[in-house]
């Protein structure tokens, strides 16, 4: 378990964007172990760009993203529910990918790994999807398999891009409950981009509001961000704001 409060990711004067063009003004943020950050904003506000920059998949336009320690273990749940349905893989094959790290794929897979996969499938209630071809699952079921892949991994920092967009409300609630549990059990740091404001309101420790119209990046506790004029301009007062969608 990662020590809660340990710095996992530190951004200084970070400007995100594509092709050298900044989308938003520079900002600082520090993600610590055990924290859940919600990234909110309208479509095209730069949520995915922010996550991809934090993961190192996109270079920052300026500023820096520093890992709290070398070899920090990331996991990523991408926006796409379906990855590549042409691959003849079962759900459990996809879940087992969560156990890979670095060159581990070149070592024979042990019995303990199989048990880890089975345990994660059982805990997530996704056993029935484990033996189904991944490509034949619905988008919501695929996302649940991807959550199971996260559960089986030894990641210290999870970045998820609208990971429940295709789930029904019950499955979504279950998924967030699982994330909340894992972050407390393992000290997992979590950054989630989501349109689900209920997540930010109920579970998040910190919220990042990306507003390209202003343009502005508002960072604070849920209460601070929901009281900000930029939030009210986009979503109205928090009581009027849609809890879902």
């Amino acid at each position: 378990m990662t020590e809660v409060g340990l710095e996992l990711l530190v951004c200084r004067d970070l400007r995100i964007g594509r092709g050298g063009e900044a989308l938003l003004p520079p900002f600082d943020l520090t993600v610590r172990a055990g924290e859940l950050w919600a990234v909110i904003g309208r479509n095209g506000s730069g949520k995915t760009t922010l996550l991809r920059t934090l993961l190192g998949l996109l270079p920052p336009v300026s500023g820096s993203v520093t890992l709290g320690r070398p070899n920090l273990k990331f996991a990523y749940l991408s926006q796409r529910a379906g990855l590549d349905e042409f691959y003849p893989l079962l759900g459990e094959d996809v879940v087992a990918m969560g156990c890979e790290r670095g060159w581990s794929f070149a070592r024979p897979r042990g019995k303990d790994l199989r048990q880890r996969v089975e345990r994660a499938l059982s805990e997530m209630g996704t056993q029935q999807f484990g033996l189904e071809p991944y490509g034949s699952l619905s988008d919501g079921q695929k996302q649940r398999v991807m959550f199971t892949r996260l559960a089986v991994s030894d990641a210290e920092l999870l970045l998820a891009d609208e990971p429940t967009s295709a789930m029904d409300m019950v499955a979504e609630r279950e998924a967030f409950r699982l994330l909340d549990r894992i972050r407390h059990e393992r000290g997992l740091g979590i950054v989630i981009a989501s349109h689900f404001l209920g997540l930010a309101q109920r579970l998040a420790d910190r919220v990042v509001l990306l507003d390209r119209d202003a343009p502005a990046v508002v960072i604070g506790t849920p209460g601070e961000v929901f009281a900000h004029a930029g939030f009210r301009d986009n979503y109205g007062a928090v009581d009027d704001a849609p809890a879902h969608g």
């Binding site: 993961l55 998949l57 070899n71 273990k73 990331f74 996991a75 990523y76 991408s78 990855l83 590549d84 042409f86 691959y87 003849p88 893989l89 079962l90 094959d93 996809v94 990918m97 890979e100 790290r101 670095g102 060159w103 794929f105 070149a106 897979r109 071809p133 991994s153 970045l159």
Partner: protein, 332 residues
């Protein structure tokens, strides 16, 4: 194609070339009974020619190694290319194989050209390898910076290699048959060195795929997820395409571009819809590829067709046979 023949096979069994020097026949000098026997033997041989080659002919050639080497070579190349083909098809890179095999064909043609016109002894398999790998590397260049999709680079590579191979072939008329063999797979015989090259490269390729299997699958299925989990995605991709380039180059030298392209695509197309798990697809595609290579040669032998086209046609025929089963599997 007619089955390859050695000099002593040209005549019916029991006859020597001397038997064909016949004395002119006339009423004063009737042909001896021995000549009557020769005429009958030749007529029988002609009838046999019309009926086509027999299993006995094949068995005789097999024992001498004339047919054994190409059958084994076709089978081995089909096996390994079938295996690689599953990854190629899943990575939506089917035409990479076509472009690389054409480039390898150009390499072989260039080797002939250099030997004939410049007395430079470049091993054709080496030239195939250099051009095949160069084509693979050039396909990885960032063409998107020119605002062009990757398929356009594939098309350019394929067209340039094909055109140059034909142009080079035009300047080496005495080897034109070999160039045609390389490009379209009409080569009947396989050199022992090419067989060894196909065998060794195939063995190494299979071993590497087995060891790096999980990495190759993860990097292909979810490249971003694999990158985030610190898998060497770029290295794995590079390794995979290097394996494809080497295997395709060596197999193209031995069999020709057409069957190589066919083995890298069709067995995977046949196997993938039939199975629920990737390892089974790899085994299935390898078996179908191997079968296409070997049966294709037999088909060409008995029906006197070009070998490469026969091997490709057999692969297509197997795909057609598997098609209903694949459709059935999907509908379940």
């Amino acid at each position: 194609m007619t089955p390859p023949r050695t000099a002593d096979q040209e005549l019916p069994p029991g006859l020597s070339p001397d038997d064909l020097i016949l004395a002119p026949a006339s009423s004063a000098n009737p042909p001896p009974a021995r000549d009557e026997h020769v005429h009958e033997a030749i007529r029988a041989h002609e009838l046999q020619e019309q009926a086509g080659p027999s299993w006995a002919d094949f068995a005789q050639g097999w024992d001498r190694g004339i047919y054994r080497d190409p059958v084994v070579c076709g089978g081995l190349a089909g096996l390994v290319l079938g295996l690689l083909g599953v990854f190629i098809v899943l990575r939506r890179a089917v035409f990479v194989t076509a472009a690389v095999s054409q480039a390898a064909g150009l390499g072989v043609a260039l080797a002939f050209y250099l030997a004939i016109h410049h007395a430079l002894d470049v091993p054709p398999v080496l030239a195939a390898l250099v051009l095949g790998v160069t084509a693979t590397v050039s396909l990885a260049l960032p063409v998107h910076k020119l605002r062009l999709p990757r398929e356009s680079a594939l098309g350019l590579c394929f067209i340039a290699a094909s055109a140059l191979a034909v142009l080079v072939g035009d300047r080496i008329s005495q080897e034109a048959h070999d160039v045609a063999g390389i490009l379209f797979g009409t080569a009947v015989l396989v050199r022992r060195t090419d067989l060894w090259a196909v065998g060794i490269v195939g063995g190494v390729t299979t071993l590497v795929v087995a060891v790096f299997y999980r990495g190759l699958v993860f990097a292909g299925f979810d490249p971003e997820g694999a990158k985030v989990q610190k898998l060497p995605v770029r290295g794995l991709n590079l390794l995979f395409w290097a394996l494809v380039a080497i295997e395709v180059s060596v197999a193209t030298r031995a069999l020709g571009a057409l069957p190589v392209f066919a083995f890298a695509v069709i067995p995977a197309m046949a196997a993938l819809p039939l199975v629920r798990r990737l390892p089974y697809a790899l085994v299935g595609a390898a078996l179908i590829g191997g079968l296409s290579g070997a049966l294709g040669y037999l088909f060409a032998f008995f029906f006197q067709f070009p070998v490469g086209a026969s091997q490709a046609a057999v692969a297509v025929a197997i795909w057609l046979v598997t098609l209903p089963f694949g459709a059935l599997g999907r509908s379940r």
